[in-house]
Symmetry: C2
Subunit: 194 residues, 2 copies
């Protein structure tokens, strides 16, 4: 038995979203059938509004609806925190302890997959370095993130700017028993006096 | 820091889908930003097409784009398999061993949540009973499913029609050690000679 073709097509669309398999996409498609026509229209309007209104901040590359994002417009520009993706900005800013600005690379260096420095939002970072005291590298602590951080640090240091990296160690609430060796090694290396 | 309002709105829309939390909705919203405008339009068209083209089969209540669904149009109408939701039709039909038709209730009886027989697609089931030899109850083996099956069986039996229920027992590939007591009890009750 074949499903109606418009359902099959919508399932295909939903399964193109990250982490969505056929079963989940099917649930989503049935949820759409259960929505009212007004709700579906609203949903589509929201999708199209994001596409129309949201673009990259001309300074930091984060998503914004204005020319310059809220953070670049109002915060301390003498510290720049470099992240890979816009979602990292949200996560870091939730901690509330950081008052500087961000710079979003929109990816990490990965020569094997053909992502070189030209594919990332790097040029605009160097246009912002005037008057900057510190650049914090907040790329993920994996191979690509480390490579990207080291690459950028090497280019930024000659400007006489301090380059730092987020501290690595055991996470809050985690179990030392289950922590991996690299994490424990870095936690020991970075131990602080109490 | 606040996210652009159109992103927040789209995250809200995505989190209205079944099983989607804020973090997942956020990933989906960012995936939409990464799509091309044509892709977003296509996605919206697919959502709206489903809403416009798909409706319930006038006979069985399953989703179809025609007046009568493929299954009702071509298969043996002397056996009806009653299921709760359209997705159950897909699951059961995948097994390939069933040649009869289905009847989709679009829910189960649940007096506590105020779902009575009038809220389900039940009336049309009784209009189809002419010439039917067997009705298979394929509602889920949980309290609501059992109640619904028992309720319908009581109403259908007086027509002189055989009413059956899907066999219950241990699933293929499962572990007897971890099976619950009710399942094991039913597996023992329904044991077959080899």
């Amino acid at each position: 038995m074949k499903q109606p073709s418009s359902i099959t097509k919508l399932i295909g669309k939903f399964s193109s979203l990250p982490g969505v398999g056929i079963k989940t996409a099917q649930r989503f498609a049935y949820a759409v059938i259960d929505m009212s026509e007004a709700e579906v229209k609203d949903f589509c309007d929201a999708m199209q509004a994001v596409k129309t209104n949201v673009h990259m901040c001309t300074e930091c590359g984060n998503f914004t609806e204005n020319e310059v994002c809220d953070i670049c417009a109002h915060r301390d520009k003498s510290i720049i925190c470099v992240v890979s993706y816009p979602k990292d900005v949200i996560a870091l800013d939730k901690s509330g302890s950081y008052t500087g600005v961000y710079h979003v690379l929109h990816g990490t260096l990965n020569p094997l997959e053909g992502r070189s420095a030209d594919d990332l939002n790097i040029k605009s970072l160097f246009r912002r370095l005037d008057g900057v005291k510190e650049v914090i590298m907040a790329t993920n602590p994996d191979v690509e993130g480390e490579v990207t951080a080291t690459y950028l640090a090497k280019l930024i240091k000659p400007f006489g700017i301090k380059v730092t990296r987020l501290a690595q160690g055991i996470s809050m609430g985690s179990d030392i028993e289950y922590a991996d060796e690299v994490t424990l090694e870095r936690a020991l290396d970075g131990r602080t006096e109490i």
